[in-house]
Symmetry: C2
Subunit: 335 residues, 2 copies
């Protein structure tokens, strides 16, 4: 196996010095075009591929980046990962993926473990404290997604704006008793969402019951179904689509219909939301774009370190929201 053809063998086969072979690949303009093509031919024939570990050892650049996510099985992440991976490959970079399982301690440990092996790390919705992140950044270049840390490049999706639109949409449909299903307490977007939703509800003259924190999963949403049903709430905004879908599922098990009895809005616009019934009304976040931009920020030369990019979100109205029940009833039964 491991035949491992090295620069040395190419050099011998070609009758040149190893440094010439090296330059053929890493600084082609320094070598005579004719020599260069001869070297390339030899390399091709021998199946030579530069050893990235050796290269990394001397240049200090690995041509690898890492992506640290809470849970790759959460459908929010794959499109982001995919886009990031494509962007990385465009620049001849490879990407490590690491799962934290929503655990800040694992997260920190993974940053350490990966630090020496990558030129930079993208932290996707990290749950660590700001202080920890600030300490970690001395070890390795960092970019965050959906998290603002002072002085650190970031790309964040404007969930606050999305939350405002979602609340306005619900109140516009006549809903006055609203609820917010929050997500994990460590998530930065969770705090932003909570703040924005509270303000928006107040501005619209609606009440807002905040329920959380919840695990950002289907069952995390479903677990709140009974509480929602009992509270007389008619409009719900959930931390993400998965929770929203879980909630709808939980409600229907209780005989509460969406959107007839309760309207539900999610966040993220995962592909799944178009396939469940009713189709989910949601705040679409440009996750793929975020992934791409994050690696650009990581890999592009820094004109402005600490640059933070905010991405607009969009309210996509589908079938999980409808007029508030008392209005609907008034229209049909004039009670």
């Amino acid at each position: 196996m491991r035949v491992a053809v090295t620069i040395r063998e190419v050099a011998r086969a070609c009758g040149v010095h190893i440094s010439t072979v090296s330059r053929t690949f890493s600084a082609p303009h320094l070598v005579n075009p004719e020599t260069r093509s001869r070297v390339l031919a030899c390399a091709q024939a021998l199946g030579y591929r530069p050893n990235r570990a050796a290269r990394a050892l001397i240049t200090g650049r690995t041509h690898n980046i890492g992506l640290i996510v809470a849970d790759i099985a959460n459908p929010f992440f794959p499109p982001m990962i995919k886009a990031a991976e494509a962007a990385a490959r465009d620049r001849d970079y490879h990407v490590f993926i690491a799962n934290t399982n929503e655990d800040p301690a694992v997260e920190e440990e993974l940053v350490h473990a990966l630090a020496k092996q990558v030129d930079g790390l993208v932290l996707c919705s990290p749950r660590m404290d700001d202080a920890v992140i600030t300490r970690l950044r001395r070890e390795v270049r960092l970019v965050t997604i959906n998290r603002r840390v002072a002085g650190l490049p970031a790309v964040v999706m404007d969930v606050a704006q999305g939350a405002r639109r979602a609340i306005a949409h619900l109140t516009g449909l006549g809903h006055r008793a609203l609820a917010l299903l929050t997500g994990p307490s460590g998530a930065w977007t969770n705090a932003a969402l909570r703040r924005a939703a509270t303000l928006a509800a107040r501005a619209e003259g609606a009440s807002l019951t905040v329920l959380g924190p919840n695990p950002p999963t289907e069952s995390g949403g479903a677990a709140r179904a009974e509480q929602i049903a009992r509270a007389g709430v008619t409009g719900v905004l959930a931390y993400n689509d998965v929770m929203a879908i879980g909630l709808i599922d939980g409600l229907s098990a209780l005989g509460v219909q969406v959107p007839r009895d309760v309207s539900v809005v999610g966040i993220d616009d995962i592909a799944l939301g178009r396939l469940t019934r009713p189709k989910l009304t949601t705040v679409a976040t440009p996750t793929a774009r975020a992934g791409r931009i994050a690696v650009d920020l990581l890999l592009a030369p820094d004109d402005d370190p600490g640059r933070q990019v905010t991405l607009d979100t969009d309210l996509v109205i589908r079938d999980s929201t409808g007029p508030a029940p008392h209005l609907a009833r008034a229209a049909t039964t004039d009670r």
Copy 2:
């Protein structure tokens, strides 16, 4: 940034030779317990972490593995990736993820690119020719998932068995005109599925219309809806759940109801299948287990290279399958 404390500085701080520091980490039993703990203390204080690239350079082992998948956004893969990543981390390995976008050429190129950076590669449902894979394996250790190549370790899920059960389930419900929605032509499981379904249908005395190849996506399934509706088929087995869900969606857009008019069975049992309505009847494949076993095969010492593990599948009956329409009609309208 990059302070990069090396073995040398630890050695100096500790008053020992670098080799002693090295051994403290890579062969602790060779160093005096007292010295060892002194070295560990120094290393800890200085924040030393072994440089894996340098280590890889000399040992030839990178402590990395790679996972090559067709499309990480396909919900079939994330649970597998997650399990593989966990299994790898248990052995102090990290994992590269690479997306091929269903393109065999990209796949091959990625194997080359990753070969020098990993101790082994897991190919998840590869689309390359056997000959290509056989050539590639001289470059790097390989394990395949859902693909059998002579002499190569593999873990495959027994879709043939699943297909037989699915067909039997459908015929048991009275369906006689069946269809099979196949997947990508390069996929090994696709061929296995086709063969098994054809045989099973014949054995059960049902007709089987084979429609494909299709892209293994939601729209790939939806695109066949009209054809299915027109063909008078009442039972369908799809290459995977995503296609099955797409088909159901497409059928309902045509006014064809599942399972009243047509019964649909998927394969994979992705989480999504429990959330769509009707809940999907499907052949459950143990994807997470497959991921774990694949990295075990890759990393465990070889008692039997070329070992191929077959994993049982399970038919999970939910709400997308029901009695054949003529039977249902006969029961209610005694026509």
